[in-house]
Amino acid sequence: MTNITGKTYAMNAITPMKPWKTWLLRTVFFILGHVASLRNDLVNLSFIHFARWVIIPRQGFPHVTEDQPYEQLKYDYLLFFSNFNGTWNQYIDAFSSVLSNGLNQIWRWSEKFPGSVPVTPFKQYIARVQFETDFYYTAYPHAATNDVKAAHRVTDALHDFERQSAAMNPEQFEKAYQSFLVKVQRDLGSTGMAPVGT
């Protein structure tokens, strides 16, 4: 499946917006970017490696040569790209149940957005505005974003333990080793292929 590489799914979506609403959405993003607590749910969900929203004004599509025709559009467009773990259904369900308020603030300015609750019309809308990925690459295909964060915690703890235990005798080392294991035990899960889903 071209949208999926390893454990990560590449989603693309594009929605039309009336130009006067674009400025309201820019204000929403400005606030979201400057008030960290508003991003807590997004961070705590912890299944998105990278995501971005891009507003393209109706006259803002790249124009690279003299003979390229200018776009003649009435709407501005909101592009959304996400790199997430899990299946499409899990992603939309989680968005709907955990991030519904935030998502409504972002997409309510798009034409015919039905709201993120209830989830069925929301899924129908996303399916309509989504377009497929032709090529997708990830440097760590077998690692979810939780795996990445766990791996960095283990690495940091290991180097701390190595430093602290350098001058210990075997008995002291064993005791410190047990403490190290207690500290990292929740982060020692192995990575690998993702289960197949839809």
Partner: protein, 216 residues
């Protein structure tokens, strides 16, 4: 800076695809054929540009009509979308693309209007910047680690897991010696290859070597 989160840069390019009605095979279809056959694992061209965390290439056929009462409208041209998440700054990344994967870049972007080729890196960088659209809001869950640091961390995590399993029930001096061997092996282990998903194999080999010393 909206294109950046911590040390990670989020690049979005929209390059207009040549619309030639006389081409025997349309440029968008040629592009899809190329993109569909490009390796996605450690042999992917983007594994060579090893500051790339994740990237995608896709053809955007048109804008999407969401139904009445919205207006139906269409793009004049199709666009090639390049979305990339990488370490460092844009200029360096684009020049690395031109230097390290010139054949791939030429094969893909030669189907786009006004593409100058990588033969002149300055013209190439200027063209790609012309195709860039600014990100309005960018989110990176881990934004302070490079690709290399993450691959090494995954390797370390896997090695530690295997080490713990192999050394259950080992005590005192043999445990300490095995740990020292593990750390030494980790330092000497080859860097994991981007895109391979084989951090586990390397790690287990490392952990196996570390643990074996206590059984000798």
């Amino acid at each position: 800076m909206p294109n950046q989160s911590g040390s990670v840069y989020g690049l979005t390019l929209l390059s207009p695809i040549i619309g030639d009605p006389h081409a025997p095979v349309s440029h968008d279809l040629q592009l899809r054929l190329i993109l569909g056959s490009m390796p996605r694992d450690h042999e992917s061209p983007f594994a060579k540009v090893d500051s790339t965390h994740m990237c995608r290439l896709t053809v955007m056929n048109d804008v999407i009509y969401v139904g009445m009462p919205a207006c139906e409208e269409h793009l004049q041209l199709q666009y090639l979308v390049f979305e990339s998440n990488f370490d460092g700054d844009l200029e360096t990344y684009l020049r690395r693309m031109a230097q390290q994967i010139p054949e791939t870049v030429d094969a893909v972007w030669s189907h786009c209007l006004g593409y100058p080729g990588v033969i002149n890196p300055d013209a190439f960088v200027a063209y790609m910047k012309k195709c860039q659209v600014t990100t309005t809001f960018y989110f990176a869950d881990v934004n302070d680690k490079t690709v290399g640091q993450t691959l090494t961390a995954l390797q370390t995590q896997s090695a530690v897991g295997a080490f713990v399993e192999r050394n259950a029930g080992v005590h005192g001096a043999p445990l300490q010696q095995a740990f020292l061997k593990l750390m030494s092996d980790l330092r000497e282990a080859p860097a994991p290859q981007p895109g391979s998903g084989r951090e586990d194999a390397n790690l287990c080999a490392v952990a196996g070597a570390g643990a074996s010393s206590i059984h000798e």
